[in-house]
Symmetry: C2
Subunit: 77 residues, 2 copies
Amino acid sequence: MKKSVFYHAGCPVCISAEQDIIELIGANNVDIVNIGKEKNRIDEAEKAGIQSVPALVTPNGNVLHINFGASLEDVKA
Amino acid sequence: MKKSVFYHAGCPVCISAEQDIIELIGANNVDIVNIGKEKNRIDEAEKAGIQSVPALVTPNGNVLHINFGASLEDVKA
Protein backbone atom coordinates (compact mmCIF):
# COMPACT_ATOMS: atom_id res chain seq x y z
CA MET A 1 0.00 0.00 0.00
CA LYS A 2 1.13 3.51 -0.80
CA LYS A 3 2.01 5.42 2.34
CA SER A 4 0.22 8.40 3.76
CA VAL A 5 2.27 11.54 4.29
CA PHE A 6 1.92 13.59 7.46
CA TYR A 7 3.07 17.19 7.11
CA HIS A 8 3.74 19.22 10.19
CA ALA A 9 5.78 22.18 11.36
CA GLY A 10 7.01 21.13 14.76
CA CYS A 11 4.30 23.01 16.66
CA PRO A 12 2.86 21.44 19.83
CA VAL A 13 -0.47 20.72 18.10
CA CYS A 14 1.50 19.03 15.30
CA ILE A 15 3.53 16.80 17.62
CA SER A 16 0.43 15.70 19.50
CA ALA A 17 -1.40 14.88 16.25
CA GLU A 18 1.68 13.07 14.93
CA GLN A 19 1.67 10.72 17.91
CA ASP A 20 -2.04 10.05 17.46
CA ILE A 21 -1.70 9.36 13.73
CA ILE A 22 1.24 7.00 14.29
CA GLU A 23 -0.73 5.08 16.91
CA LEU A 24 -3.80 4.89 14.66
CA ILE A 25 -2.30 3.88 11.34
CA GLY A 26 1.17 2.64 12.32
CA ALA A 27 4.59 4.23 11.89
CA ASN A 28 5.32 2.04 8.86
CA ASN A 29 2.31 3.43 6.99
CA VAL A 30 3.14 7.11 7.16
CA ASP A 31 6.01 9.34 6.12
CA ILE A 32 6.53 12.31 8.42
CA VAL A 33 7.64 15.59 6.87
CA ASN A 34 8.50 18.65 8.96
CA ILE A 35 8.04 21.51 6.51
CA GLY A 36 9.21 23.92 9.18
CA LYS A 37 12.67 22.38 8.75
CA GLU A 38 12.37 21.03 5.18
CA LYS A 39 11.17 24.26 3.63
CA ASN A 40 11.95 22.95 0.15
CA ARG A 41 8.99 20.62 0.58
CA ILE A 42 6.43 23.39 1.24
CA ASP A 43 5.80 23.57 -2.50
CA GLU A 44 5.01 19.84 -2.60
CA ALA A 45 2.62 20.26 0.35
CA GLU A 46 0.82 23.12 -1.37
CA LYS A 47 0.45 21.11 -4.56
CA ALA A 48 -1.08 18.29 -2.52
CA GLY A 49 -3.75 20.77 -1.42
CA ILE A 50 -2.52 21.46 2.10
CA GLN A 51 -3.57 24.78 3.59
CA SER A 52 -2.50 24.31 7.18
CA VAL A 53 -0.52 21.86 9.30
CA PRO A 54 -0.77 19.33 10.75
CA ALA A 55 -2.30 17.59 7.74
CA LEU A 56 -2.36 14.06 6.43
CA VAL A 57 -2.34 13.21 2.73
CA THR A 58 -3.94 9.78 2.30
CA PRO A 59 -2.62 7.16 -0.16
CA ASN A 60 -5.35 8.16 -2.62
CA GLY A 61 -4.41 11.83 -2.42
CA ASN A 62 -7.10 13.21 -0.13
CA VAL A 63 -6.04 15.84 2.36
CA LEU A 64 -7.16 15.62 5.97
CA HIS A 65 -6.44 18.85 7.81
CA ILE A 66 -6.16 17.88 11.47
CA ASN A 67 -6.82 20.35 14.26
CA PHE A 68 -4.88 23.53 13.58
CA GLY A 69 -1.23 24.28 14.23
CA ALA A 70 -0.19 26.81 11.63
CA SER A 71 -1.19 28.03 8.20
CA LEU A 72 1.20 27.34 5.35
CA GLU A 73 1.70 31.09 5.01
CA ASP A 74 2.98 31.20 8.58
CA VAL A 75 5.41 28.35 7.92
CA LYS A 76 6.81 30.18 4.88
CA ALA A 77 7.46 33.34 6.88
CA MET B 1 -7.62 -2.27 21.49
CA LYS B 2 -10.26 0.25 22.39
CA LYS B 3 -11.95 1.64 19.32
CA SER B 4 -11.76 5.15 18.00
CA VAL B 5 -15.05 7.00 17.58
CA PHE B 6 -15.72 9.08 14.48
CA TYR B 7 -18.42 11.71 14.97
CA HIS B 8 -20.00 13.29 11.94
CA ALA B 9 -23.21 14.99 10.87
CA GLY B 10 -23.80 13.60 7.41
CA CYS B 11 -22.31 16.61 5.61
CA PRO B 12 -20.33 16.01 2.39
CA VAL B 13 -17.03 16.86 4.13
CA CYS B 14 -17.97 14.36 6.85
CA ILE B 15 -18.74 11.52 4.44
CA SER B 16 -15.50 12.06 2.55
CA ALA B 17 -13.47 12.07 5.76
CA GLU B 18 -15.34 8.99 7.00
CA GLN B 19 -14.25 7.03 3.94
CA ASP B 20 -10.65 8.15 4.40
CA ILE B 21 -10.61 7.23 8.09
CA ILE B 22 -12.11 3.80 7.42
CA GLU B 23 -9.48 3.14 4.76
CA LEU B 24 -6.67 4.33 7.02
CA ILE B 25 -7.48 2.61 10.28
CA GLY B 26 -9.98 -0.09 9.24
CA ALA B 27 -13.75 -0.27 9.70
CA ASN B 28 -13.35 -2.66 12.64
CA ASN B 29 -11.32 -0.11 14.58
CA VAL B 30 -13.76 2.76 14.54
CA ASP B 31 -17.33 3.37 15.63
CA ILE B 32 -19.22 5.83 13.45
CA VAL B 33 -21.72 8.15 15.10
CA ASN B 34 -23.93 10.52 13.10
CA ILE B 35 -24.82 13.18 15.65
CA GLY B 36 -27.02 14.85 13.05
CA LYS B 37 -29.35 11.87 13.43
CA GLU B 38 -28.42 10.69 16.93
CA LYS B 39 -28.85 14.06 18.62
CA ASN B 40 -28.90 12.40 22.02
CA ARG B 41 -25.19 11.75 21.54
CA ILE B 42 -24.23 15.41 21.00
CA ASP B 43 -23.73 15.75 24.75
CA GLU B 44 -21.30 12.81 24.72
CA ALA B 45 -19.41 14.40 21.83
CA GLU B 46 -19.12 17.70 23.65
CA LYS B 47 -17.84 15.99 26.79
CA ALA B 48 -15.18 14.29 24.65
CA GLY B 49 -13.99 17.78 23.65
CA ILE B 50 -15.42 17.92 20.15
CA GLN B 51 -16.06 21.40 18.79
CA SER B 52 -16.83 20.60 15.17
CA VAL B 53 -17.44 17.60 12.96
CA PRO B 54 -16.06 15.51 11.43
CA ALA B 55 -13.86 14.58 14.38
CA LEU B 56 -12.14 11.46 15.58
CA VAL B 57 -11.72 10.58 19.24
CA THR B 58 -8.72 8.28 19.56
CA PRO B 59 -8.63 5.26 21.90
CA ASN B 60 -6.67 7.32 24.42
CA GLY B 61 -9.20 10.14 24.35
CA ASN B 62 -7.51 12.70 22.13
CA VAL B 63 -9.70 14.62 19.72
CA LEU B 64 -8.63 15.07 16.13
CA HIS B 65 -10.79 17.65 14.41
CA ILE B 66 -10.61 16.78 10.70
CA ASN B 67 -11.23 19.36 8.01
CA PHE B 68 -14.41 21.25 8.77
CA GLY B 69 -17.99 20.25 8.11
CA ALA B 70 -20.10 21.89 10.79
CA SER B 71 -19.76 23.30 14.27
CA LEU B 72 -21.51 21.48 17.08
CA GLU B 73 -23.69 24.54 17.54
CA ASP B 74 -24.90 24.15 13.96
CA VAL B 75 -25.71 20.48 14.51
CA LYS B 76 -27.76 21.34 17.61
CA ALA B 77 -29.85 23.86 15.70
